[in-house]
Symmetry: C4
Subunit: 354 residues, 4 copies
């Protein structure tokens, strides 16, 4: 496994976060880093990892490791780490999604492209034809635009749709009001439509089957944090669940994603892939999420911090660091392949104190 | 739903609290904000909400929301948020209870008027005939004055009595001794009586039935924090329970109201309305209390902070913010009506960490 | 109940603690306030009270309260609050144990006189014949001196012996080495003996029966923090157990006394009185300890702080504050007598969060 | 028991730690004191002791104490405290392992000599023939060198091998990159080999039996933190388990050693000795580990701090302090011999709060 060498100064995601925070204009920084309301779920996403201990197993032959996993759409990626959607990448670097896509393609993993990208579906596909792309989108009040966007992605070689279900109203982002946040960047994918882009409030679970059958693409449901919803999603045709709370940006007080993961894995993990994002900052975090049952872990903010620091190279460095750290953990913990990491490799801290 | 626009600067209850604290004279500020003794229950009221996670449910039709609930006395209010009693509003704004009453009437919800108001029962009723008013009062050593006060309220169109049961001695408010707190404002309702206004120490549960039958008004019992007392109250004629610990101002060490709520809902929630106050600062808090089983959530200090900042408009802004936040939560969490919010929409944080 | 008026400035034990700390010479202050080693048990004693909530019960006739309790030796005291032993009171005030004894006699409660007092048994008895005195002592390597001391106390009208069992070696008081602590004050009771005053290391439970039968005085065992030892003590003749960890000054890491109390009450509470000391700073603390099953709560450091601030009057103020606070709690919580306070009046915080 | 007198200024391990930190060059200090990644396991090692309370038992004859225990290899040591391996002692004091060995020999306990020592096996054996020495080592990719090193130790009178199993890849020591840490000191034991010293990644449990049978020395397995691995180690010939997480320097997020200890004692404690290291700073910590079931507690960083402060005398002082503290605890807690300390002498804090 060839990996680019991390810069001598920025050696961890925490370093890159600190450097990005130093570089960003304050209102962009608060836009990116804050959650909503009291910020409880934002912090819980990160803190939830501290509630789990890793149980390493020794004297295992780990001379050959294989970090690759298969994902929906028939692709195999060389590590169980991929990129979650975030909007308007040109806010973070002039190259925007071109930079992100280039780094993700170099690493061979998945980029979930936000519908709110500053580079249009077709432009990104033209620049990065070999990138594994999934399109994050919504069910809009206008069902025709919904289908049109999905079919544009299919036409451009996107391999799956990622349907965000936790955004029928915008979260209470008071910090943006206070910071005076605004951006001149446009959402490129919407430019061809002269209609409302409002997200639908009148959805139901049958919409999943409708979207899937109309487009012929696999559909990942993003935003679910309960077993009940996971069950309903799968019963209505979902090909995978991406456990997420929108990075703590929608409903403050909802569970950390690592908290919600167990009940969802229990409910549907034998039937479909369960992915997760939220609070992942190290390879140790990735290892814990895999042990609980996530198939792939997605990262959002770290990618944006990488963009701010060094464009495409910065994103690649973020992915390299996480890859290196996970490889180190799998070597020491005695799990040479992702499939070797089991629920028994983690234990709750509380269970040690009784 | 038409709602007044919150001021651009003060967007949350936390902002209004901070601004009020900046404006208040120190001894008034400590009077209002402190609890008793070590302040443990005061803090617990706020912190208890952090022990619960919200479990949002997605892909639900929330295009039409209805936040209204019915309350005792036959009224329906447009949101499950109302105003708890607090004394001497003229300390907080020259318009006193007139300001509070006007804002509450504009929002269409309930104002529990403190017996210790700076505006007399009859004056407030004359100024705000359409306001839904309940009178907070005590069982006094003088039973005749007790009945007289209640009948004055009935005469003035008050819809219910709210009997405070946790005040037979005054809590240990050492901070008032230290701050030199005193006020020139008079309790207007007592001015016609030349006798002791001492609260009775020789009460028993039959007093509820006596008060109710003598006045013909529904009686809410305020201050209960145990299932046992809730059971006794209902068995003796209580029409509703308002779970409260007097804002942490009476018995430091008693449970947070959100802690006490479950056992009380379990004990009597199928028979009578259970209300609560204490520590509510956001719509997320309201959502959690409703999920545990509160029918309506009352707010005290936030109303006083609103009064300090901007009189009647400030109170209205407080109620607007909570209303907006709850509506946002109900939209995102998939609960278009108050009745859709169930016990299953919350889970204790601790249950996620085992 | 007539009670002296607390000073307007020092209204709580916390105030008196702060004032005493301001007044004491640093090495005395560290001697008094610190525990041993890491100070874990010292802090736990205070913090343990925060793990319990009080469940007040309302609409109870509390017009007449009675805080009195009976104790071993046939005495009745007007409140369940008494004075734990601490050594060398002349370090804290020139009047030493004369000052303490006067205040305790005025309050009518029990003073456990430390064997390490600066005023001899006979002197204190002569000055305060009406004071209810118990003598704290040890089993010494010299059994004759042990009996001689006990008989001197009996001769002087002491009502009971309090045998400290957790001091066969001195705790690791590194802070005294660092502060250069030393004192010119003498332990008055030992002055007549020209032999080693070493505490015995070769004790067994039969020593209790021997001490009791030889002296004819009731014996309280002080220092026990386990159910097993409580059982053995009672089986060997102990008349009462004083749950104590020597104020966190002996074995750092041993349980807070409020933590140890439940298992001891469960083991022997139906047979003998169970007393406790450690970390009590408010009437709320007293209430919680009584609810768990303590018959009387003893205070040590607060008495010393009172001595430092104002000699005998300072001690009396400490006892008045605790008495007032407990009376306030019993009034509000609906428990007019000490016997009305039950295990059901408290609940662990953790039990509210699951 | 004759013990050297601790210096008047440095009376606790905490004092020696602070003094060493003052004296060390920053990059050495960060090398020694930090863990890996987020430092979670490093802190957990120390904090885990706070989760346990000690339950002292009184009125026991403790006039004669015996702290000695037997260890593998047929030796008896005068206290259940010994020295864990750490590399390159000349970084901490010019006398390096000669200083450490001298102090440990004076105390009569075990020194686990790191394979990465700055003094060669044979040199140390020549200087300290009476020191009880065990050799910490690895299974190397080169199996011949593995055996050669072990046989050199046997030849030099080492009594056992300590096989580290948690180091097949180096932990993520970002702090060393940032501090620019490097050292001119050489690992003396490797100087005779012109081949890779890489630790093997292709190990399995049969390697234990191979090493043991090839060398004829008892083998302690160091680094295990799960019951499953302990079971496998013993089934494959391990003579003892040293529960360790490499001082938090390898896999951040793995359990604190005191957390892992109970499941390992439960699994194999009736068959082989279970030792532990990690976070031990006081005799109270030693007592707790023994109560959970450790036979001997090893200390690493405290020995290095002692070396920095005062060479061999500093190491001896560290061991004296721990010995004194443990003796004090055994005296007060009523456990005159190590065998008297049982699981019943500790209880989890959490169990006191429900």
């Amino acid at each position: 496994m060839t990996q680019s060498n991390p810069s001598p100064k920025l050696v961890s995601i925490a370093d890159i976060e600190a450097e990005a925070n130093r570089l960003m204009e304050p209102s962009i920084r608060s836009y990116l880093n804050y959650g909503v309301l009291s910020g409880e779920t934002l912090r819980a996403n990160v803190d939830a990892f501290k509630w789990l201990r890793i149980r390493p197993r020794y004297m295992v032959d780990v001379s050959k490791r294989n970090l690759s996993v298969s994902v929906i759409g028939g692709d195999t990626i060389p590590m169980p780490i991929a990129v979650s959607p975030s909007g308007l990448h040109k806010r973070f670097h002039p190259d925007g999604e071109f930079a992100t896509g280039k780094a993700v393609r170099q690493k061979g993993t998945v980029m979930i492209v936000s519908i709110a990208s500053t580079v249009a579906i077709e432009e990104l596909a033209a620049a990065e034809p070999d990138l594994i792309k999934w399109l994050q989108m919504f069910i809009y009040r206008d069902r025709n635009m919904t289908i049109d966007l999905a079919l544009r992605a299919k036409q451009s070689g996107f391999r799956a749709l990622v349907l965000t279900v936790d955004y029928n109203a915008r979260g209470l982002r008071y910090h943006n009001i206070k910071s005076g946040y605004k951006t001149a960047h446009k959402m490129a994918n919407y430019e061809s439509y002269n209609i409302s882009k409002d997200v639908a409030k009148d959805t139901n679970w049958q919409d999943i089957r409708w979207l899937k059958e109309t487009t012929g693409l696999p559909v990942v449901i993003k935003g679910i944090v309960t077993a009940e919803d996971a069950r309903l999603a799968v019963d209505n045709g979902a090909d995978a669940i991406l456990v997420s709370n929108h990075g703590g940006r929608q409903l403050d007080g909802s569970p950390a994603t690592l908290e919600a993961l167990p009940e969802i894995v229990e409910a549907v993990g034998r039937e479909v892939d369960v992915y997760m994002d939220g609070g992942v900052r190290t390879g140790a975090d990735v290892f814990k999420a895999l042990a609980i049952g996530a198939k792939v872990v997605f990262v959002g903010r770290p990618v944006c911090w990488g963009l701010v620091c060094n464009g495409s190279n910065g994103v690649k460095q973020v992915l390299d660091i996480l890859n290196n750290e996970l490889d180190n953990y799998m070597t020491i913990a005695g799990t040479p392949t992702v499939g070797d990491i089991t629920r028994n490799h983690v234990r709750y801290v509380n269970d040690y104190h009784n």
